[in-house]
């Protein structure tokens, strides 16, 4: 990791020293493979701001990095007491909730720009365009459900806001850590970097990141979902074999 970091920093330093450079970012790893030992991943995002975007040497600037995972139909359910027991009684479907959402910034967001600025670029959980689908059709979601979605995903480290910071390393250079937990959803992630100066956006760019099951894990998952009958049969045969083996060994 350190070698990668140093070499990337060298490249970025060279890039940054060029006068025409805009905003350049790169990730320490653009393809995350979920294998049997997968326990989450830590990535480093490096970036450099050239002088055409802002004047990094003379003026202070701020960086906000937004990592957004694949969107999926997500249902939030609420338990209610029905006849003495707590059951899922009410639900709301968010058809496009990201499976992962992280915002890292060089300073607290309130100090970087006015909330309306973040709203216009859709930065921050509160500004995600989350429309809910309920029995009454599409509607602005009940804030309680929206808050629950954020709270539950945040407790699983899937939604992170104001937790990670972007550190400004040197003239025009910055870096931040991207934490992907073990239960991270698979799919295409978008990493967007925004550079702000004096409260307004100066530059933005986006790069992609792929998270996918690989090798044996991929094969097992594809088998189970693509050929469920044969998967089930295999599971039974494995169980029969294992049980027979246990019976033979147990007898001795």
């Amino acid at each position: 990791m350190r070698i990668v970091f140093i070499s990337l920093m060298t490249v970025l330093l060279l890039l940054a020293s060029r006068p025409a450079g805009g905003l350049v970012t790169d990730l320490s790893n653009k393809r995350i493979e979920i294998r049997y030992s997968f326990d989450g991943a830590e990535l480093i995002l490096f970036g450099a701001v050239g002088s055409s975007a802002v004047d990094p040497v003379n003026d202070a600037f701020d960086v906000v990095v937004v990592v957004r995972g694949p969107e999926a139909d997500t249902v939030v359910r609420r338990k209610e007491n029905v006849g003495g027991i707590w059951i899922n009684n009410d639900n709301l479907v968010f058809p496009a909730a990201p499976g992962y959402y992280a915002v890292a910034a060089s300073r607290p967001l309130v100090d970087i720009a006015h909330p309306t600025v973040f709203a216009s670029y859709g930065i921050g959980f509160d500004n995600l365009p989350l429309i809910a689908r309920s029995s009454q059709g599409l509607a602005e979601p009940d804030p309680e459900f929206r808050q629950a979605l954020y709270r539950l995903r945040a407790s699983e480290n899937l939604y992170r806001q104001e937790v990670d910071s972007v550190s400004l390393v040197a003239e025009g250079l910055f870096r931040t850590d991207v934490h992907l937990p073990a239960n991270v959803p698979v799919g295409e992630f978008i990493v967007e970097t925004f550079v702000f100066q004096e409260g307004s956006l100066k530059a933005r760019n986006r790069i992609r990141l792929n998270v996918d099951k690989e090798g044996f894990e991929r094969a097992a998952y594809d088998f189970a979902h693509g050929y469920p009958f044969w998967y089930g049969l295999t599971a039974v045969l494995v169980a029969l074999g294992a049980g027979w083996l246990a019976g033979v060994l147990g007898k001795k």
Partner: protein, 313 residues
């Protein structure tokens, strides 16, 4: 040592999983029960999604029952004809159970159904077993010996009036095939929705309703459980893709070791004491599940992804 389970889609510690298998295996070896009714709740308490816990446990029970049934086969303790009728019933029950499971899963109510089924069945079976064993222990203290009831007398008159009579030589019975068919069906439904083998219902039903001789009861019940849990595994694989082979194999590995130790400990304890202990454990799991239903949860909300197949998580 974390291991990523590709079907359950979560990372679990290998030693924790094998350890859980070993503890449940120890208890099932000691009490001579299948252990599904303990393993499924423990998996749920450990954070495995209930649907995955139930489906995966079916797969593990198949394996555990094979080794048990093999031992009974060697002792000629299996009534294959009776077992076959029970299997036909079990297949029908398991099919419908899996359908209900899939439907409730799409509604987000499968967890509720699993908990309710556990509370109802564990509560009633555990309660009866506890009452019976405590009475036996008390009677023994007083030196009371209950009069023996002969096998034939256990049959109620209505049982002999049922049609489709069939002869089961090994069980020395001439009864309606509808009875084992219905018992098999009930067990099949339970296997599909609770992730259990169903021995805790089937064994008493075989003794008290069918009147089977005790030497073929356990073997025949295990014989039925192999086929019904195997079918259940396939139904769940096809309907909801919730069977995790890797989780099942790890649990089995632990369970095989645990069962060997447990069986040795079990021999040293008296039958009625064992039954009282088992009953207490069944009731404990039931109470824990029941608390989850009636106590207001800290978090009222839950989040799940909705996929085309209705599979959560």
């Amino acid at each position: 040592m974390p291991l990523y389970l590709p079907i359950a889609e979560l990372s679990m510690d290998v030693f924790l999983v094998v350890g859980m298998g070993a503890v449940v295996g120890f208890l099932s070896g000691m009490f001579g029960v299948g252990g599904g009714f303990l393993m499924t709740p423990i998996l749920i308490f450990a954070g495995v999604p209930p649907a995955v816990a139930v489906a995966t446990e079916s797969n593990e029970i198949t394996a555990a029952s094979v080794s048990g049934a093999l031992a009974h086969w060697r002792r000629q303790g299996i009534d294959v004809k009776m077992g076959s009728v029970l299997i036909v019933g079990g297949a029908i029950g398991s099919f419908f159970g899996a359908q209900v499971f899939t439907y409730l899963k799409s509604l987000g109510q499968v967890d509720l159904m699993i908990s309710l089924a556990y509370v109802v069945f564990l509560g009633s079976v555990g309660g009866l077993m506890f009452w019976e064993s405590v009475r036996a222990i008390l009677r023994q203290h007083r030196g009371y010996i209950p009069p023996k009831v002969s096998r034939e007398d256990r049959h109620k008159a209505w049982i002999h009036m049922l049609p489709f009579k069939m002869r089961f030589r090994k069980s020395k019975l001439y009864i309606s095939a509808l009875l084992p068919l219905l018992i098999g069906m009930l067990v099949g439904v339970l296997a599909a929705i609770m992730g259990v083998g169903g021995g805790f219902i089937m064994v008493p039903a075989m003794i008290y309703i069918l009147g089977m001789p005790t030497n073929v009861v356990v073997g025949t019940s295990l014989f039925q459980i192999i086929f019904v849990t195997a079918l259940t595994t396939i139904f769940h694989s096809v309907n909801t893709q919730t069977v995790d082979i890797f989780l099942a194999v790890l649990l089995l590995f632990g369970a095989v070791i645990g069962a060997q130790v447990g069986a040795r400990v079990g021999f040293k304890l008296k039958g009625e004491h064992l039954r009282a202990l088992l009953a207490m454990m069944v009731l404990l799991v039931c109470i824990k599940m029941g608390f989850g239903l009636v106590v207001e949860p800290d978090e009222l909300f839950s989040v799940a992804e909705v996929s085309a197949a209705g599979a959560g998580h």
